[in-house]
């Protein structure tokens, strides 16, 4: 009779590197496993996909109007109608969606989204002239898009070559050409330009950021629409799937040119030509995430920060007033809660999100806050995608077997998580569903 032998338990794979001791070790380990900063729960998936859909509709307006302002309104000294993009821009085909696109990546159509067009026609109040919709604020709030653009302009040096180029002689020459062409036959403005050239140059730089952000969101809108469609088809199994879709999307369009063209009559003036080689990932996506998700500005909300009392960091790079830190409760007590965007998204919430909000807190009464928090969750997921994309671009695969490479990845993730050590960060809050 043979002595029975105990079955040895299956040996767990030995980690190649020791566990992190970082404050956010749990999140770091999740990122190292290919996950997101946002925990993988069915409700989180539903929330972020639903809000992406609600975000994409106004975003479809933002990018069209931003490009309209950058290319057509340009230096109009009284741009009273800049939020009324021409039909040409409303019909402008998306460069990456629709049959006409040279590089079709996303399945969506080429025209403005039907829900957007419907809302522009009737708003919440019903059909009436566009001007009345505008004055009644029953419209898409372009002010939010402009605030994002201004954050990018104001913070400037966030990597990439775009901002440096705006100080180059080549850019100044192109801008000069555009200014003179735009004000041709207008001696008063040309005289002003002669007197204050830098003021006009600064305005053109701002227009270049309008174009930059418009081109960035032109890509993101169909991404979010498609994510919503895939979710509706039951395509995403979890939050990491959604994040990976974003990562793949980022790489698919990473090389998209960022440029600034100005149209004066039939003439197209290339203020920033495509040939300069500015690309979507480095000159638009990363600066946008840095400026809007992390930094923004301390003077946007209803709470006043006192720089003289040391409440505002001396270095702009230390600013932390973005959506990842924002307190969406008091409509502006910390950072820029995207109040206007929240209003915009409220018009386009999918039914399942409305049902979810009815079940919690004050139901319909405070769904504006609940969707703001959902938006915050979704932006943590987008930021996770950007972090993973950067890791892909700069470091090593997650399944690399070289401990040194994994340690390099670890240091990268820990450095990213260091930015959420400050108490204002909402990373801790989004780890539970109780945060609503």
């Amino acid at each position: 009779m043979s002595t029975p032998t105990a079955t040895a338990p299956a040996a767990a794979p030995t980690p190649l590197i020791p566990p992190s001791t970082h404050r956010w070790a749990e999140v770091i380990h999740r990122l190292e496993a290919g996950g997101s900063m946002l925990p993988d729960t069915p409700e989180n998936l539903m929330q972020i996909i639903g809000i992406y859909k609600a975000y994409a509709v106004p975003m479809d307006f933002y990018w069209r109007d931003l490009l309209y302002i950058a290319e057509r309104v340009f230096l109009n000294p009284l741009p009273a109608f800049k939020y009324f993009p021409s039909q040409e821009y409303l019909d402008r085909p998306n460069a990456y969606a629709g049959e006409q696109s040279q590089l079709r990546i996303w399945r969506g159509g080429e025209k403005a989204h039907p829900e957007l067009l419907q809302f522009m026609a009737t708003g919440e109040t019903g059909a009436m002239p566009k001007l009345l919709h505008h004055l009644w604020h029953d419209r898409i709030n372009m002010e939010f898009a402009e605030a994002c653009m201004q954050a990018m302009l104001w913070h400037q040096g966030m990597g990439g070559r775009f901002n440096d180029y705006l100080a180059s002689e080549a850019y100044r020459a192109n801008a000069d050409r555009a200014i003179k062409a735009y004000f041709k036959g207008n001696p008063a403005m040309l005289a002003l330009y002669a007197l204050f050239p830098e003021m006009f140059m600064e305005q053109v730089k701002q227009m270049s950021y309008y174009a930059n952000l418009g081109l960035f969101w032109e890509v993101m809108a169909p991404v979010f629409f498609e994510m919503s469609d895939i979710y509706d088809e039951g395509g995403f199994k979890g939050v990491p799937d959604a994040m990976n879709f974003l990562v793949n999307g980022i790489f698919a369009v990473a090389g998209r040119p960022i440029y600034h063209h100005v149209y004066v009559g039939d003439e197209c003036i290339e203020v920033i030509p495509k040939s300069e080689g500015f690309t979507w990932l480095y000159e638009a996506a990363l600066p946008y995430v840095e400026a809007v998700f992390y930094r923004t500005a301390p003077f946007r909300g209803t709470k006043s920060y006192n720089a003289q009392a040391g409440q505002v960091p001396g270095d702009q790079a230390d600013f932390h007033y973005g959506i990842l830190y924002a307190d969406v409760f008091p409509v502006g007590s910390a950072g820029i809660p995207p109040t206007l965007l929240m209003q915009d998204m409220l018009h386009f919430l999918p039914p399942y999100l409305k049902d979810l909000y009815k079940q919690h807190r004050r139901g319909e009464q405070d769904q504006l806050i609940q969707l703001g928090i959902t938006f915050q969750r979704s932006m943590y997921n987008v930021t996770s995608a950007v972090i993973q994309a950067l890791r892909c671009a700069l470091l090593y695969p997650l399944d690399d077997t070289d401990p040194d490479h994994l340690l390099a990845n670890r240091h990268f993730f820990e450095a990213q998580m260091d930015r959420f050590l400050r108490p204002e960060a909402r990373l801790d809050a989004i780890q539970t569903q109780a945060y609503r």
Binding site: K303, D327, F329, P330, V331, S333, A334, R361, R362, Q365, D366, L368, I369, I373, A429, A434, Y435, R436
Partner: protein
């Protein structure tokens, strides 16, 4: 006109107070609450009828040997206080939660409190007044002891001790009044107004009255019970205590002190005015230092009672008119303040100022309730257009000629209201609304109703100040001990002022209809030499 309304004013809370406990144990708290509110509303209605159709006084023998007679009546000093008490009782009853524990006993005791307070205001016999005054102590102590906060026992004991001393002092004063009166043994108000007492006796009796009513009002340094009781008692009880019960003290000082002991009152008035100024400053400074909303409101109430004491001490026609207006305005405002604080406490579970913030947040806060609280604090601060303004204006203007220094101190103390109101709102109204704590449900209209009704009344009284001052014009003018304007500047002014006051009585003045003769004794002593302190 029959005396039935006078009987009804007492019979309604008495009957309901006795019948409510007999309801079945299965009766819902909501039903009991609504019945109690209905009774108080009926009482208010009867009071309004009395305003339009003044009833004659009621006089029934009770225990004649003791001088205890069932003498009831309404004049233009007591009628507004009866109406105030009825209104505040409705608000207090409706401020109780719909699931009030042990509702039959709770609302019975509230109605018993109402009975005592209204009885005191209706009494035309000093012993009857003492009985009613003492009656209030029992239900209020039980209400604090049974339904109070974590320190309910201590609060109830302290409240009972202070109340007992107050009651005993009052009893002693009233008995001395009756026994030492050279005109004969009587506790009838008219007889007391004409009582013949030596200055020494007057002084002793006034000292006892000041102790009794100073404890009830309260006045510093007799206020020891107030902050603890206000912080521990259930909100409906605090609304009645601050809004109505404490007014028995003010009414007593006016009726007994100014009305029945004018010479002693005039002699002691500089000290009384000083006590008022100290009370005003002490209350305001303590309110600024508080970190708990109930205690802040308690000290705020105390501070504003200091103004009332100043006005009574000055005893000019205008200051006394201001005193009555302040009694009414303070009653409304304090009740409103506590109604709002009660709502906040019910929704957030706390009144600790450091634990609250962002209450004005339109989406997740309690903006409606906080807005009413802000308005109540503005009214307390004397912002024009609200009830506190005409009252405080009359107090300051009327008291200035008699006690300029104390008036100035009270004026500064009153201005401190804005300081603690702003500090309070800066902390609890604005700022971050913590997600972890802010899972509150909004207040619904049923809960807001009492505070909303009081808010409307406070605004209405500010817009139409005659509602506050019109009642008492005749009676206060006849009780005045000093002229409103400096005699040295206008020598013949006192008599002229009284004459003008009398001529300016509104056509429907209750004073002119019910007790036109009652003011006569006081008018006699009103002709004090201008130079008297």
């Amino acid at each position: 006109m029959t005396t039935l309304p006078l009987v009804l004013l007492l019979a309604l809370p008495l009957g309901a107070g006795l019948l409510l406990p007999l309801l079945g144990a299965a009766s819902s708290a909501l039903l009991v609450r609504n019945l109690a509110a209905l009774v108080a509303a009926a009482q208010l209605l009867v009071g309004l009828v009395c305003w339009r159709l003044p009833p004659p006084p009621l006089h029934l023998a009770w225990v004649p040997k003791l001088g205890l007679e069932l003498e009831l009546g309404l004049d233009n000093l007591s009628l507004p206080l009866v109406l105030l008490t009825a209104l505040l009782t409705i608000a207090a009853v409706l401020s109780a939660p719909a699931d009030q524990p042990r509702p039959r006993l709770f609302f019975s005791l509230l109605l018993a409190t109402n009975l005592g307070v209204v009885g005191a205001f209706l009494a035309r016999n000093a012993l009857l007044f003492v009985l009613a005054y003492e009656l209030v102590l029992i239900p209020t102590t039980l209400l604090v002891a049974i339904w109070g906060g974590p320190r309910q026992a201590g609060a109830a004991i302290r409240f009972l001790l202070y109340g007992a001393v107050s009651g005993l002092s009052l009893l002693a004063a009233v008995l001395a009044f009756g026994w030492l009166n050279a005109n004969g043994f009587s506790f009838n108000f008219d007889d007391l107004a004409q009582a013949s007492l030596s200055p020494r006796s007057q002084g002793w009796i006034l000292a006892l009255l000041l102790l009794a009513f100073g404890l009830k009002l309260p006045i510093v340094p007799l206020h020891g019970w107030q902050p603890l009781t206000y912080s521990q008692a259930p909100i409906p009880v605090v609304m009645l205590l601050g809004g109505a019960v404490s007014k028995m003290g003010a009414y007593g000082l006016l009726r007994f002190g100014v009305g029945f002991l004018p010479e002693a009152w005039a002699a002691w008035s500089p000290w009384i005015a000083a006590a008022g100024a100290v009370t005003a400053v002490y209350g305001a400074l303590n309110a600024i230092a508080q970190l708990e909303m109930r205690r802040l409101m308690a000290y705020s109430s105390l501070g504003h009672l200091g103004l009332l004491v100043l006005a009574l001490a000055a005893a000019t026609p205008m200051s006394l008119q201001g005193a009555v207006a302040q009694i009414l305005a303070h009653g409304l405002i304090v009740a409103l303040l506590f109604a709002c604080v009660g709502l906040i406490e019910r929704k957030t579970g706390t009144t600790a100022i450091p634990e609250l913030s962002g209450l004005l947040n339109p989406l997740r806060g309690l903006p409606f309730t906080s807005g009413m609280l802000l308005l109540a604090l503005m009214a307390a601060a004397g912002i024009p257009g609200l009830a506190g303004f005409p009252a405080e204006l009359l107090v300051f203007e009327g008291s200035w000629t008699a006690f300029p220094r104390d008036t100035l101190i009270c004026l500064l103390a009153s201005s401190l209201t804005a300081v603690y109101a702003v500090r309070l709102f800066n902390r609890v109204g604005f700022g971050r609304l913590d997600n972890a704590r802010a899972d509150w449900q909004p207040t619904h209209w049923g809960e807001r109703l009492p505070a909303l009704a009081l808010t409307v009344t406070v605004i209405a009284a500010g817009i139409w100040p005659q509602a506050l001052v019109g009642w008492s014009e005749a009676a206060t003018a006849s009780l005045a001990l000093r002229p409103s304007v400096m005699p040295s500047m206008l020598g013949a002014q006192p008599a002229a002022a009284r004459s003008a006051s009398a001529q300016s009585l509104p056509a429907r003045s209750i004073a002119a209809r019910i007790v036109p003769a009652q003011a006569a004794p006081a008018l006699a002593v009103a002709a004090l030499p201008p130079g008297r302190p």
